[in-house]
């Protein structure tokens, strides 16, 4: 720690840690060269967090990677990236190797792939140290232990000898940050450092990065698409759009008073916690949800649902079989819920909480193993595919990733016609054409898009086409598994709007699975919170979001960063207080 501070000369405060001048990057492809970055000027001061935001394809990652000279062979770079007095663009490979690690380090999106699985974490930290200076084995180990303690790995003395798979995702990300700190890098480039992590873990990693900035005086270049993360951590924000920086401002200023219309559009599209009624009218909600259901749901007890319930789960168990001689994995334990006709149930939870498993069990992609799960009156525990097939026309499913849920060799029109052909509602493609066009129209896609192949559509358009396919047979139930998590925020807003419009009009019941509380809050009548396979909280949307009962839900809600630096600061302090209070108590569940 002291070593790093000694490096910081008094006049370094005026000298930016990184300065990017007129950076232009283009990539050679089979077709025309793609110009990813066009004339970007940026600078980062020591002890400052610069966030680069923008949607996928805006050039933010490429810009950040150019600081480390980490561009692929087919990239052509011009301009200058000045880092500690060197222009990275001009450096040779050997000089670059010296710069990396010593002057600048990178934190990747997926911590599990950034660490080598066959070496201990201590070895990997020492490896970096010894590449940049003479460290004895003993000294390197001591330094590794010290730095692991600094980033908050408990019991570093013994854990230094453990392998990456013995750490959780959040801890792995801490180790990656520790590797950057061990070398005393003055600049850290963090590429979506929390995207692969759960919300509660994300809050902890953001805390750590803030500490790295304050205690070590590091300059951090943070790349993210999550405006909440930006509001939480960034001092200054650069908004990129199609390879150019369209706006650069102080974080508070940017959120309070965005100047460029793209920034305004981007901020407007971010779903906000508590913006409950942005899409759904409260009147529509109350007509659907009877008081009886409300109380039953709030108690979280097996409810005496009306016989017409579309989905009814009682003590639902789903166990994935284990390997020979090992017990199976209990993905879902004793879950009770009902979905009434026309109701939207939102399922929220972290990765591994069993929310996707429940969705897949409802459509028969995963087998329910115990309790009872009745879908449209058909028992799914021990179901036979042949018996369930006729009912399939009444259930629709929207997958998470629109890029892979379409057969790449069929046109969008053919894909939407598939369900009609399978269930004999049309003889051939020509017969289905009118219906396909009506469906495309319903999801606000131009009808001639039916002749295009999936890869010719953008992510948001594909997800709308996916919705059209799921609705082709007028289902009574729609299961949407994280339908917007692969999309940019501005696109996500559009998809959600189309979804809620169709839901209002057609009145199908929906199971909406998401990890994003804000998104679920906008759409759902009821919200169920899953934690390690158990439904810990179940109630109306307002109730769960404004007055959570279970400590896990409270922590989850407090961890979600909101896109407003001032409010987020208060929330952060509230979360810290909450955590401190919780430390005394046993862990939830």
């Amino acid at each position: 720690m002291t070593v790093v501070q000694n490096h910081t000369q008094p006049d370094a405060a005026v000298q930016p840690a990184v300065e990017i001048r007129d950076l232009r990057i283009s990539f050679t492809t089979d077709a025309e060269p793609v110009r990813a970055v066009e004339g970007v000027n940026l600078h980062v001061q020591p002890g400052e967090v610069l966030a680069i935001v923008g949607e996928s394809g805006s050039g933010k990652t490429v810009t950040a990677k150019s600081i480390l000279g980490l561009l692929p062979d087919n990239a052509t770079v011009s301009g200058a990236v000045v880092l500690a007095g060197h222009d990275v663009v001009q450096l040779s490979a050997a000089e670059l190797r010296q710069v990396r690690g010593r002057d600048v380090a990178m934190v990747f999106q997926e911590p599990s792939t950034a660490l080598n699985p066959v070496f201990t974490v201590g070895w990997q930290i020492a490896e970096g140290l010894r590449a940049h200076g003479e460290y004895s084995r003993k000294k390197a180990r001591a330094r590794a232990i010290e730095i692991l303690g600094t980033v908050g790995i408990p019991d570093p003395q013994s854990r230094v000898n453990q392998y990456p798979h013995q750490f959780s995702g959040g801890q792995k990300q801490r180790i990656v940050i520790a590797m950057a700190l061990a070398l005393g890098s003055k600049v850290i480039v963090a590429d979506e450092p929390t995207t692969a992590l759960d919300v509660t873990v994300q809050a902890e990693i953001l805390d750590l990065l803030r500490r790295v900035r304050d205690d070590f005086g590091c300059a951090i270049v943070l790349i993210t698409h999550n405006m909440g993360v930006v509001a939480d951590l960034a001092d200054r924000v650069a908004v990129m759009y199609r390879g150019e920086v369209v706006e650069e401002a102080d974080a508070r200023e940017l959120f309070a008073d965005p100047q460029h219309e793209y920034t305004q559009h981007l901020l407007g599209a971010v779903p906000r916690l508590g913006a409950l009624t942005s899409y759904r009218k409260p009147g529509a909600r109350s007509t659907r949800t009877t008081a009886e259901e409300l109380s039953a749901g709030a108690a979280g007890a097996p409810s005496e649902a009306p016989a017409a319930a579309v989905v009814q789960a009682r003590d639902l168990q789903i166990v994935y079989p284990g390997r020979l001689g090992r017990p199976g994995f209990h993905a879902v334990k004793n879950v009770n819920f009902t979905i009434a006709p026309g109701e939207v149930l939102g399922l929220v939870g972290e990765s591994g909480s069993g929310k996707t498993t429940i969705g897949r069990a409802i459509v028969g992609l995963t087998r329910a193993t115990g309790g009872s799960l009745s879908v449209l009156g058909h028992e799914m525990v021990g179901f036979k595919e042949r018996a369930f097939r006729p009912l399939r026309s009444r259930v629709g499913f929207v997958f998470q990733d629109p890029a892979t849920s379409f057969n790449p060799l069929l046109t969008v029109g053919e894909a939407i016609a598939e369900p009609l052909l399978i269930h004999d509602q049309a003889q051939d493609a020509a017969g289905a054409k009118a219906k396909v066009q009506a469906l495309l129209d319903a999801v606000h896609l131009p009808t001639h898009y039916g002749q295009r192949y999936p890869h010719e559509l953008s992510g948001g358009q594909r997800q709308r086409a996916s919705l059209a396919r799921a609705l082709a047979l007028d289902p009574e139930l729609l299961v949407a598994d994280e339908p917007t998590s692969a999309l940019d925020v501005s696109v996500q807003a559009r998809v959600l709007e189309v979804f809620s419009e169709l839901q209002e009009r057609l009145g199908f019941a929906t199971l909406f699975i998401s990890h994003d509380l804000a998104v679920v809050g906008m759409l759902a009548d009821h919200i169920g919170v899953l934690y390690r396979g158990e439904l810990v909280e179940h109630g109306t949307g307002e109730q769960v979001l404004t007055d959570p009962q279970h400590p896990y839900t409270q922590r989850l809600l407090a961890s979600v960063p909101v896109p407003d630096p001032v409010e987020q600061k208060q929330r952060r302090e509230a979360l810290a207080a909450h955590r401190a209070a919780e430390d005394g108590q046993p862990q939830p569940v």
């Binding site: 001048r21 283009s26 990539f27 050679t28 492809t29 089979d30 060269p33 949607e55 394809g57 805006s58 052509t76 011009s78 301009g79 200058a80 000045v82 060197h86 222009d87 663009v89 001009q90 759009y241 369209v246 219309e261 793209y262 559009h265 981007l266 599209a269 459509v363 992609l365 399939r392 026309s393 259930v395 629709g396 499913f397 997958f399 998470q400 990733d401 892979t404 849920s405 379409f406 057969n407 790449p408 060799l409 598939e418 369900p419 399978i422 606000h444 131009p446 295009r452 010719e456 953008s458 992510g459 948001g460 358009q461 396919r469 940019d488 501005s490 696109v491 807003a493 559009r494 709007e497």
Partner: protein
């Protein structure tokens, strides 16, 4: 990089002002023939890779033309030992009458090589077709259905792998034809024995692809829609599973030629009076080598080498071209580095 997104800076309407795929419209979908496997790659290749591909294609085209027009090109029949002027000389040196000389049996070497192309191309075609259909069919069913059927088929494929391929081909050809035979039955025997050797390769590739595709969301989506298994296999899995086949076909075809030549060389090929076969000719040429008679061995040998080389060149360059990481691309004109050099001075 070029993922088009709805992010046009329009505040009033969230819908983009410009059609995000407008550039795709301009680049009109190409006609179907331009998207066929080999042609698609040829149009995208540059530099050395293009050279390799074209050289391979030219060599292959040459042999295919030779096979098709053998009756017109070859001056004599493949089993002709005499003409109006009397018997052909034995082991005659190349001359105006016999361009590449004659063999110990009195056959014209040039004619035998040309007719041999016909045998080779026909056998390879039959062998590859048979192994593709068997391999794809079994691979699809085995991969998609899984279970005990899959295990049995995989075990059989592994067992076939364990045999030396030439030994297996010999056994099969003996079983089918009893050793030697006429033109069609001989070709069929050779083709089938090659098929047995290569089916496991196609089976494995298609099965692996099918297992991967089975868990792809678009196949699951078809299942959720209630599509029947034959429909899922034919409409969603089959066409996506066969993408890497052109590559294996070319690489296998060259191996098939070597296997055929090997069979002929060992005497398990086609009767010399029924068809011309390079491997057999090479076998007969062994004793000539000591006597300084080079033409009986060099020409059939060169034919084998050139055809195998041609097919391998096509296969290897297809392999490189279909992998974006190996594919060479035209570099764009370098951007001016004026700013960069100026900056270096400043730094």
């Amino acid at each position: 990089m070029s993922v088009p997104t709805n992010g046009a800076p329009a505040v009033s309407t969230p819908e983009p002002v410009a059609d995000p795929v407008a550039h795709g419209e301009a680049a009109q979908r190409e006609p179907r023939w331009k998207r066929l496997p080999v042609i698609w790659q040829l149009r995208r290749s540059v530099g050395l890779q293009r050279g390799m591909l074209i050289a391979g294609l030219v060599l292959c085209a040459m042999f295919i033309l030779m096979a098709v027009f053998a009756p017109l090109i070859a001056p004599y029949g493949f089993n002709q030992l005499s003409d109006a002027e009397g018997n052909f000389p034995r082991q005659g040196a190349p001359s105006a009458q016999f361009w590449w000389g004659t063999t110990v049996g009195g056959y014209d070497v040039f004619s035998r090589v040309v007719w041999g192309a016909q045998t080779a191309v026909l056998t390879v075609l039959l062998a590859v077709l048979a192994s593709i259909f068997l391999g794809i069919g079994l691979g699809l069913i085995s991969g998609y259905l899984g279970g005990w059927l899959d295990r049995i088929l995989v075990t059989i494929a592994d067992a076939i792998y364990a045999f030396p391929s030439l030994l297996l081909a010999i056994v099969v050809s003996i079983v089918i034809s009893g050793g030697e035979s006429g033109f069609l039955s001989g070709i069929l025997a050779a083709a089938l024995s090659i098929t047995v050797v290569f089916v496991p390769q196609y089976f494995r590739v298609v099965r692996a692809e099918t297992v991967r595709l089975k868990s792809e969301p678009f196949v699951e989506s078809a299942r959720v829609l209630g599509a029947s298994t034959p429909r899922i296999l034919s409409r969603h899995v089959l066409r996506n599973a066969t993408r890497s086949l052109p590559l294996i076909i070319t690489l296998n075809a060259s191996e098939a030629i070597l296997t055929l030549a090997g069979l002929g060389f060992l005497g398990f090929g086609i009767n010399p009076t029924a068809a011309a076969e390079w491997g057999y000719d090479l076998n007969r040429a062994i004793s000539d080598v000591a006597g300084g008679i080079w033409w009986t061995g060099v020409f059939p040998g060169a034919a084998i080498v050139l055809l195998v080389l041609g097919i391998t060149l096509v296969g290897e360059s297809l392999n490189d071209l279909s992998d974006p990481r190996l594919r060479m691309r035209r570099r764009p004109a370098r951007l001016p580095r004026k700013t960069a050099t100026a900056m270096k001075g400043a730094a």
